[in-house]
Subunit: 334 residues, 2 copies
Amino acid sequence: MTDLPIALDAMGGDHMPEAAVAGALEAAAKGCAVVLVGDETRLRAALAKHGGELPVVHAGDVIGMQEHATDVRRRPDASVVVATRLVKEGQAAACVSMGHSGATMAAALLLLGRLKGVERPAILANIPNAKGGHTALIDAGANADCRPVFLAQFALMGDAYARAIYGLAEPSVGLVSIGEEPEKGNELTREAHDLLAATPGIHFRGNVEGRDLLAGTTDVVVTDGFTGNVMLKLAEGEARVLFAMMRDALRSDLRSRLGGLLAKPALKRLAARLDPAEVGAEPLLGVAGHAFIGHGSSDARAVASAMRSARRLVDAELAERIAETIRASAVGAA
Amino acid sequence: MTDLPIALDAMGGDHMPEAAVAGALEAAAKGCAVVLVGDETRLRAALAKHGGELPVVHAGDVIGMQEHATDVRRRPDASVVVATRLVKEGQAAACVSMGHSGATMAAALLLLGRLKGVERPAILANIPNAKGGHTALIDAGANADCRPVFLAQFALMGDAYARAIYGLAEPSVGLVSIGEEPEKGNELTREAHDLLAATPGIHFRGNVEGRDLLAGTTDVVVTDGFTGNVMLKLAEGEARVLFAMMRDALRSDLRSRLGGLLAKPALKRLAARLDPAEVGAEPLLGVAGHAFIGHGSSDARAVASAMRSARRLVDAELAERIAETIRASAVGAA
């Protein structure tokens, strides 16, 4: 446990700094210490508007959504860089950004560095599943091209996450492929399958398919960051499209409209459970510290959720758990 | 146009031959000529049970779901092989199988062969989209490992399909990646992006992401068969899971239950539109003939839809249209 605050990049994202300030105040009211990072004048003004008080660390620059991730190297005053530096310097327990995801990753890699033995840090995404919990999808987008050993380490990091955060004793792990049989798949998955089967300390259940992500067939699902990012965005996009179609269906005639009105509270609860804002931000695992990446479109609710998610991982000392898991396995060690 | 019947592998699939016979009779009643391929005794018995009449071609063997696709080489009496041979010999306009998809592809490649100039035949899947139509996803699973030129040809085949079947004058094409910018993606997509941008005769809109599949951002979406198969199964699986969650939500209390009863017809119409049984079977494009692959779980309705889908492509002379499109472009020509 730590009393250090969570550093929030309050400038990166579509609705910033307003959503950052409102969300951070909501989180702070629930006992989560937050430090806002960004343009001090604007942040003080937004705080005053909300009648709230929070510590602010000034950052005079912001990396825009259309700019380059590599800009973190030459823009030390960018909000995401300043927020990450607070973690590096022991002044914050974690950094969270709803801005440029590539820049958030680059800042974490550059300033925090990799945990010893980790080949490639990866993004883990929590996908709501049919079993009422979440499936941990890793890598959700950090590494577009992967080698089999990366996937074996993703499995180890996902295992550590599912034990610490989902509270599972023996999380099951599946490898994304296009058929259950070990020989089904592409060059990467066929090699990765053998390596995963030989990786000690995980509970590998073999190949899983696209449908297993939401079914929750396994607790952890590993794949390369290209496939994982496509899956994440497809899963989120489909939920949005199906709910929009459902809303249209419930407006199609008088009878459906009445039915929709009656069913509204139940359907709203379901929509909330499937909303990415419920988790708020996803962790970059394998870096020496805690870094979180949220949607550019995050609103105040998503920011508050992100603070809560980040706090849980910090309290679980997840980075330390991952370091131990990677150390205990020999996978990837040169 | 042709009066030749569609050859239906009436043995391959979970609910065969009953679903095949019932679905084929339904299609035949609507004017679609069908020839059943499979165990003659069982098929005649099933026909008698339904009080219907259809031509039958005997096939004494079936390739089971757990067997090998390569079995098609040494099992000439397997129903899928016999059905494909009818196309090869000019006795059927198309073959359709709900059985082992690998075997269906292998039989088509072995017996029908590739269209001239086509590097790799590919499966095209029709994904219901938010615009009320379908997005053509290609390759949905035939080629797990791809080279950029394959993807350029998938775009050409998808373009020919969307013109012939969706009736579009200038179908737009997107490349699945993990960011809109050309340099975002993996090794394959970065090269494929440049090649697609230089491919004459298609309307390339650049990279699309997972969310664009159901949004219907472009009419055609090209990707390698690994990513495409994962996307297809994720999209279908998610629709199933979300509808099950919705059903549960509409049973959660008395008020929701009443609302659900009132909204039931509208929600059923929506579920039917999203049900893969609505299309029934998807085409393998690039072979010299018409071959279709359906779900192993297909019921009679899916079989009837598959016959209707196959008939549309045959009537549109799709294989000929694809051959022309590939010939007109120089892409992939050695």
